[in-house]
Point group: C2
Chain length 316, copies 2
């Protein structure tokens, strides 16, 4: 006798939420999607993933909602919305989460769980998910999956003791793996977040500042050197904050980016489409943590200051 | 009995050469202008300066040339062309310069005279001129003068001994002053160049990177802080190179920029119009000098790397 598969709620069905939701639904999980602007299109046409890895994936009859009050209680809640909207996400998460549900924040940056933790009930488990994936939305209900796809999970806070935390993470890892998604446990969530930042800090910001994807940024010797310096600043900051990263990480990240298709990170699309950029989670919080640990990140700070200028101009 | 006024040749009649040439010609100097793309327009319409300081200034019958071989020998040669074209300028300078003429390089950046020195005859005096002025061309033969206007002169190299150098600089200063241009002697040309760089290094590059003039860069707290950091890096580099700058310089430059009209530096116009940017003189040479003196300029270097990327993209 097999235990029933857990019920999964997707809050924020953008590229990330859409991709993982479709993968899990195709593996037989009971997945429910909260949508806003894409609701009508998804109800009519379903969700489409054009994947360079898995081919064309279509989810025909999507369990789609535009009101969280219509959704059933979910055991796992995957938050794919932008970290910039976490404060507004909290009531939606609470509205769909079963009493001791596992809430996974599939976002980049530092401190993204902290803000949510303050406004979510203590009974909910809060986890962080680091997505190593190249995806973007190309139309309503259509996600382009260019490369990679893994999710690493770490426990942030909640009612579980350390042994139970281990079990919950393993459960989540097994769930993703069953859906054909590479997944691993992150023993230290903060370290895992810093490690992901080593990639996001150079590419996200420079894609906006220089209006360029990873391929031209890596092909030009000057921007390539700048990428590398920012990665090294992030590694130094992580170590200063007590989360020393693996030896050789920068070289491996440079090399794996060289082998990726040209990729425009989410921050590029956010800025180009007039959405707020995730500057707080990806730049401000790590810079504050580094400064508190006495570590200077001058090139990263210069990039952040330039992005804040661009952000203010876009709004103003 | 008054000595005859010296004859002046202007090589590169852009905004800088046009402005100072017109001021000198209106003061009775015998000024000859070498022109390229603007020749026909200037012969037909003269040179026009729309000055926020001096009002509308017009020079009707311009002594204009498109071939240096048609020009008379000049006692002073003012080089207003871009530093990026100094190598091609040398034969033109030599063609118009009297045997022991004073050649004044009215350009920003470090090392701009060194390249010229190598290709000019030893008999020529080479001086540097630091222009504190907000000007740009708005049409063929038309210069907009927004603010300021001073020129500080320093001796670079040539046949003069130190006492003669002093005399030559005073002669040049007097000439500019007689034309209504504020002018002072720079005892140490390299120090004067570093001092000017403290202004150019932040504003020139950031105007390109952020597509913004001085006013928005100063109004936004993040770009303002970035401007200030880059100024402080330039001051630190100058000191490390043996040219300590006056106490309080950064505050005074920030304040005087606050009181300027919104100004787009020449690098902005160069990039917008597809001309090469003066990256070598304004960034590469100072960064190299600072590195040789063991002084790091990380934010300036990040800006330079970003500008090199933009420059390569514009060409490519």
């Amino acid at each position: 006798m097999t235990a029933p598969k857990p019920r999964i709620g997707i809050i924020g069905t953008g590229a990330i939420g859409g991709f993982y939701g479709v993968m899990l639904a195709r593996a037989g999980y009971d997945v429910h999607f909260l949508l806003r602007s894409e609701y009508d299109a998804v109800v009519q046409n379903g969700l489409q993933i054009n994947s360079a890895v898995h081919g064309s994936l279509h989810l025909d009859s999507v369990q789609a909602y535009c009101n969280v009050s219509d959704m059933p209680e979910c055991d796992w809640v995957l938050v794919g919305a932008k970290s910039t909207s976490n404060f507004e996400m909290a009531p939606l998460i609470e509205g769909v989460a079963a009493s001791n549900a596992k809430v996974v924040v599939l976002q980049n940056g530092l401190g993204v769980e902290d803000g949510l933790r303050n406004v979510l009930p203590d009974t909910l488990h809060l986890l962080g998910g680091l997505c190593f994936i190249c995806v973007h939305r190309s139309a309503l209900g259509v996600v382009e999956h260019q490369a990679l796809g893994g999710v690493n999970l770490g426990y942030h806070s909640g009612p579980a003791d350390s042994q139970e935390q281990q079990g919950l993470i393993e459960e989540g890892v097994a769930m993703f793996r069953e859906a054909g998604v590479d997944s691993n446990a992150a023993a230290n969530l903060n370290q895992a977040r810093w490690q992901k930042l080593v990639w996001n800090m150079p590419y996200n910001g420079l894609s906006v500042l220089l209006r360029a994807g990873t391929a031209p940024l890596m092909a030009n010797p000057d921007s390539r050197a700048l990428v590398r310096s920012i990665m090294l600043e992030a590694c130094g900051a992580a170590a200063a904050c007590g989360h020393a990263l693996p030896e050789g990480l920068v070289d491996r990240m440079m090399s794996s980016t060289d082998h990726m298709p040209d990729y425009l990170p989410s921050m590029y699309h956010d800025q180009a489409q007039g959405r707020p950029m995730e500057l707080e989670a990806i730049y401000a919080a790590p810079l504050t943590a580094a400064a508190a640990a006495g570590f200077a990140m001058p090139k990263t700070e210069a990039l952040y200051q330039a992005l804040r200028f661009i952000s203010a101009r876009s709004v103003g």
